[in-house]
Symmetry: C2
Subunit: 465 residues, 2 copies
């Protein structure tokens, strides 16, 4: 007999005479004549109630079916008498596959998130983390659907890179050299030509530059892969290893880039609202009471667009005292971003056209700015409660201005010969952005710590499992 | 005006008075009264013919539209007089966006694959590599569709791992220590507790063990991410960085595992046959004349299943002289695999139940074997022309037998405490497999070198772009 997933049993349109269920015991209640076992198989939040009659030949098995045990049940799917469930299963066969004794760490409830991180190999069996990782899976699929349906091509940009100057942050070194006793040259320095790739290599901090290569050939592309930062920041929003989505579009300017970013964020929210309704309701009940109104708010409201210069004026006129003083030329800090989205505009805001000096070398110089207030076509999408969720820009497609930007940032043109070639041969206006997948997951689940939306978080001092 | 992709223009159902196209010049032919420009935007293999009348005010631009230049064209979509194309565009405006002069390396044709690897930043603009990377994108999407439609959850297993004993191959070290002068302890050895994660860390060779964690919670899961081997093998089939798909199913045995593997391979082939028809025809014309018959053959034929013991008997009785002698207990080599699929069975073959001694510690000991011929529930799916494309197994779910396997492989139980926990608490029969994404791409494109199906290949001595 084919296994039926609990999800499909809940959605059955008719009773069934014979059904096979396999999963794990969440709870059990025994009465004189019956036992009620809640079986969960991870296919959905809600378990299925199994009724085991004490007269069943297998009934002795039930006493071994503690929380966490794996079980196999054959029976009839019948309309449930109980509240809040349409169907239940009356067992005709009940078998314990694998026991779980009293040492099983995931007993009923009351565990802290910190403790659950220590048993990250078991926490996906809890209601909370089952829901988190179902939403994570669905959200990833929604990313692919969004782009594939718009004729974007998925590109796997390299994880190992020889470029140590992508500028987005500190990098991890990748090596096969013996750290105890690395080969050294005549000058006594480590001889990196003896390393696996014949030179120093690192873990990527962004696939953007390689993504531009593909946009300048296939027009519309996106990446979705792991990205790394070797920064020693132990915050609730930073991890050393995280997943990022980076679309890139040829023949596209900042306007088109902002349009895509907004459509993308709305699509992702709409998709999980539809496909993960029960999991999201769970989060709104137990994690963040404002979650669903906030998501719906973002769906319904048009996003505000506000230039950096306007944003600074708003902040200066706010009458607020800032921890980080704000004036034209300074970076926006979390407190400023929150004020803009949560107090001033009360909706998601895309801030665009930032000062050239505080942004990356590859961003396009905005035409027609006053020389003392030179800006680049960058944009950040800010959402209430989280702050920056997307950062993007139109890229500098003019060879001479790109070289100027590289000089300003003290970058070696030789290392970027191929990046400059894109501007030498058939250059086109192009733009893109990056969305941190875990930030988006935190936004749609209300979970406050990035460690709790990643299967096995890598943070300073931690690489368990 | 909204841009129309060439792909959509080719599929138009009616002529159009005004259309905007943006892309790159592939070829140009000038006559007295007209120029014919082939515009390609990467959305599909076939370019769109643009007819520019010499009387057009913009006509002077055409002289600058060399191969590789980017152009923007407005015009009418009209039925084409030419052969082999339904539509063409009669330009009303023609603009060169970015020129490409005579130094553009991708002139018409006749480049070797080796040369194109050196200009991997431009090769996606060629017919061949445009097709490869469109198929790569589609194949990746087909992977997600296959699993998501079957209620499998996508899991991001960690890339950085502290486990150096996964046993699948040599590993890259990940570190933030200063190689010139690493911190050393009192014993003069490098002090790894000072590294970013407080211990030695590596790039993953497989997400399987972590995948099992999630299968033992969500029932059916799959991974799809980058994987690494620090092996110094310079072959056409090995890369240091490649992508792998690893499904894992709870309550599943080897039989179910083989069923899924076969259905998966067929699904992927069927999907690209349908969605990448033009690109596949191009490969069958210019790369591998037998490609389409071979793909159709795999689609139509049921796969043969053959135990390892039977396979060895077939090989011993074949009368062939083998480079690698074969007898019970030896690993199957490429020559054996090819004989089985290409000569003996003449179809894809799944070989199962391998000797325990030559397989990994986590594979399930097959019940009822003679003690001197102990086997494990492993399987390899072999296809004609490529050999092994999938390797998988049922996992040992019995705690004591798993510990025995670890002892046989000299593994430290302490490092696997969480893996053993899965067998302590609600253990279930489970199984899974791994598919090398690039191998599959080579199979569906006929491309013979793994370097030509990866955007930017990482191989010994090479980490360019």
């Amino acid at each position: 007999m084919q296994r039926t997933l609990v999800k499909d049993a809940h959605n059955a349109t008719a009773a069934a005479d014979a059904i096979l269920l396999q999963g794990w015991v969440r709870t059990r209640r025994d009465s004189k004549a019956f036992s009620f076992v809640e079986l969960n198989d991870g296919s959905c939040l809600k378990g299925l109630q199994i009724v085991v009659d004490a007269s069943l030949p297998d009934y002795a098995q039930v006493a071994r079916a503690h929380t966490g045990a794996s079980i196999e049940v054959r029976g009839k799917l019948v309309a449930s008498q109980g509240q809040g469930q349409k169907w239940e299963v009356v067992a005709t066969e009940f078998k314990v596959v694998g026991e779980a004794d009293g040492t099983y760490p995931l007993q009923k409830k009351g565990h802290t998130l910190e403790f659950l991180r220590e048993i990250a190999h078991l926490r996906p069996r809890s209601n909370l983390f089952g829901a988190v990782f179902r939403v994570r899976s669905r959200l990833a699929y929604a990313v692919h659907q969004f782009f594939q349906e718009r004729s974007f091509h998925y590109v796997h940009t390299p994880i190992i890179t020889a470029s140590d100057a992508e500028g987005a942050g500190d990098m991890f070194r990748v090596t096969t050299l013996d750290l105890e006793n690395p080969p050294r040259g005549e000058d006594k320095h480590v001889d990196h030509t003896k390393d696996f790739f014949g030179k120093k290599t690192f873990l990527t901090v962004s696939g953007q530059l390689e993504g531009e290569i593909f946009a300048c050939a296939l027009s519309n592309i996106y990446t979705f892969g792991p990205t790394f930062r070797a920064e020693n920041s132990n915050t609730s929003r930073h991890a050393a290893e995280f997943w990022m989505i980076e679309p890139e579009m040829a023949f596209c300017d900042l306007q088109g880039d902002m349009d895509l970013a907004e459509a993308f964020v709305k699509h992702l929210i709409r998709d999980v609202r539809t496909h993960c309704a029960a999991d999201l309701e769970f989060f709104s009940k137990f994690v963040d009471k404002d979650l669903l109104p906030r998501l719906d708010f973002v769906l319904e409201k048009p996003f505000v667009r506000c230039s950096y210069t306007e944003a600074v004026e708003i902040l200066e006129k706010s009458g607020k005292t800032w921890e980080h003083p704000i004036s034209w030329g300074a970076n926006l800090q979390a407190e400023h971003e929150r004020y803009l989205t949560e107090e001033h505009f009360k909706c998601p805001v895309t801030v665009y056209n930032y000062p050239r000096a505080i942004k990356a070398f590859y961003m396009r110089v905005t035409d027609g700015c006053a020389p003392d207030r030179q800006t680049v076509a960058a944009m950040d999408l800010l959402v209430p409660g989280i702050g920056e969720i997307i950062g993007g820009s139109q890229r500098e497609e003019r060879l001479e201005l790109l070289r100027e930007g590289m000089a300003l940032h003290h970058l070696d043109e030789k290392a970027y010969w191929w990046y400059l070639d894109l501007r030498r041969y058939g250059t086109v206006p192009h733009a893109g952005f990056g969305l941190g997948f875990e930030r988006m997951l935190m936004f749609v689940t209300g979970i406050g710590n990035i460690r709790d939306v990643i299967p096995f978080a890598r943070t300073p001092g931690t690489a368990d499992f």
